[in-house]
Symmetry: C2
């Protein structure tokens, strides 16, 4: 074959689930975007390439992919779940959420070492096996601080 299959293809085969066109398209969308998309947003993007896809399929796929660790489910408290490829979550990045404009920024990972330390402490203190983590800082972004309220 011409191109190597993406890493998630392997995982899916490994798990014995089918690599259908719909699933491929959903994963492509997640792979191409830098944003944290909601199920609805994903649905509408996929529809451009595959107009017949159903809402239920999007939800079921995201659910499935979340369960086997290919996708990460995020919640910024705005009433809907958002999704991203797990790959991108590796570096335990910090999400900065502006309470004013709602924008989500991400720390590049400069705090990774400190986070790892905390993780280590927590793990041993509570005998808790950390599999992944989410860190949200809520406040006001640079722009909104300037712009008054």
């Amino acid at each position: 074959m011409r191109y190597a299959k993406p890493w998630w293809y392997k995982r899916m085969i490994e798990e014995g689930i089918k690599f259908t066109l719909q699933r491929k398209l959903i994963l492509d969308v997640l792979n191409r975007t830098k944003k944290h998309l909601s199920a609805e947003e994903i649905y509408f993007i996929v529809r451009k390439f595959y107009p017949n896809i159903g809402f239920a399929t999007v939800y079921r796929t995201l659910d499935l992919l979340t369960k086997i660790g290919i996708v990460i489910k995020l919640n910024f408290g705005d009433g809907r779940m958002r999704y991203e490829l797990a790959e991108k979550e590796n570096a335990s990045h910090i999400h900065l959420i502006c309470k004013n404009c709602g924008k989500v920024f991400e720390d590049g990972g400069d705090e990774n070492e400190k986070i790892k330390e905390i993780e280590k402490n927590i793990s041993s203190r509570y005998n808790f096996k950390v599999e992944n983590l989410k860190i949200f800082f809520m406040g006001k972004c640079e722009n909104c601080q300037k712009g008054g309220d």
Copy 2:
């Protein structure tokens, strides 16, 4: 008066909102529990003392109290929001969520210093004014690690 009014009473007066019985009861529930209650749970507890309270009132109250910072809205990704008194959030505690049994544990605050450092770095690096933060560690708790799956 015999007893000092709780701190949130002041905040509410300050904000010019009324300290109604329903609001008092909701705050009492939040104040007495150690758990992170959902709106529904709060509703049913308050109903024991005040059977006529409506769902909408609970939601509106929690919303209002969240807006003025008396209550913190949390989301553990299980499809419903959970609430706690802001007071308890002060120490930027870490939530440990067991993916297996769903239990939520809390770190006592032993990592506070490291968290503060991270917060400081983030603030200056992005000019982001951090107002509050949430840290979730997902994984397997001690019990579930023992018990096999």
